[in-house]
């Protein structure tokens, strides 16, 4: 495709150009994003390896919260090329998303746990331990 316009550089290419020499803030943002990815690995492996639904929810609920928050705030930092009004507003918007992820993620994992519990899915326990599951319904 021969595009002779200079005005319309595709967005992806533009972002690649800027990240080739990131400012320290952007570098920190990229680092945060990579850290988030690292925690996502823990979530994914836990989802596969843990024995039953409840323990899997541990992996899913916690890994989701932190890694999504990290990746989003990393994205917020990356998008702050200049400290103008627009980029600050974008940063605040992303921080709002982070805040609501922080509130809703534990709630959703709780709701799933409760739904499973009320559906008589028994939590897995180890029988030889002294305290069996204190299930009261």
């Amino acid at each position: 495709m021969s595009l002779d316009q200079t005005m319309f550089i595709p967005v992806l290419a533009e972002s690649l150009q800027t990240t080739s020499s990131p400012t320290p803030l952007q570098f920190f943002g990229i680092l945060l994003g990579l850290l988030g990815l690292f925690f996502f690995v823990g979530t994914a492996v836990g989802m596969i390896r843990f024995p039953d639904f409840y323990t899997r929810m541990h992996a899913a609920g916690k890994g989701d919260t932190l890694s999504t928050m990290l990746m989003l705030s990393g994205f917020g930092l990356v998008s702050m090329e200049d400290l103008s009004m627009g980029s600050w507003l974008l940063f605040f918007k992303i921080m709002g998303v982070v805040l609501f992820i922080f509130i809703t993620c534990p709630t959703s994992s709780h709701a799933l746990m409760r739904a499973a519990f009320e559906d008589d899915e028994m939590p897995m326990t180890e029988k030889d331990l002294k305290k069996p599951s204190a299930k009261k319904k």
Partner: protein, 294 residues
Amino acid sequence: MFEDGTIINELLIERLNYLIYVVLLLIGLHAMIAKKNLIKKLIGMSIFQTAIILFYVSIGVKEGSTIPVYLPEHDLHGSHSVPSDTNETSHFEHGPFIVDSSLVRGYANPLPHVLMLTAIVVGVATLGLALALCLRIYQGYGTIEEDEVLAKIERQEMLSKPSIVVKSVDSSKTTNSKAEKPPSKPKVSSSSPSTKRPQAIPKTKAKAASTSAKAKTSRAKSVSPKAKPAASKSTTTGSKKSPAKSKTAASKPTTKAKPKPKVKSKAKPAVRTKSSSPAKKATASKPKPRTPKK
């Protein structure tokens, strides 16, 4: 392998969007044709719709273009907030300009987006309507399996066709007609004890059928709680229903015109009021017609 002109290149590289839309469309089409469950048909319809939407949106793409919102340099009037400051004269100084043809290529085609935006909303509306119809069908027939619904409609039509003639006949007359019938009929329905006799057999059959149906249905959760009271109901109301059915079945070989429908019209309200458990009736009624034939 991926040179120009080969079919792989054409379908997988240059026209991958059409391949995806065709595959999605076929999935939806197959679901709409082959599935018996009405909800699954609706899911198929949704997939079909999604395929069409994807097709349209992929048509609107231009390579290297942005979304169809003016970039700031093309939208020079910027603050169109204060209504008074953009009167006719000052408008041309800081207002927007006609985007020339070389720049037009930089924006994606807005028309497919508009069409699909409305199509999505109308799709939601039609999906809601279809779900409401499904719910109504479930209320009426107790099932959303297409073939079961069709079987029930067939049975109801068979029952209801002659009953139009006798609609005005009140209940006392129907009992009279019932009394008239026995001589013409075989002794099965001649008297009240004899009506109980065939009923005793179907009772057990109905129970067995209901239990088997319970085990069969995968959605046992929603059905099984209803099944217990329904089974008890069918045993209590079986005295009305089962003789009527045996008669209708018997009517087939010995074509008899009028007296039978009256009894059927009596049986019909029972069918309606017991609409909460029609599934059982269908299963229970099936074995009955066969026995008199034999």
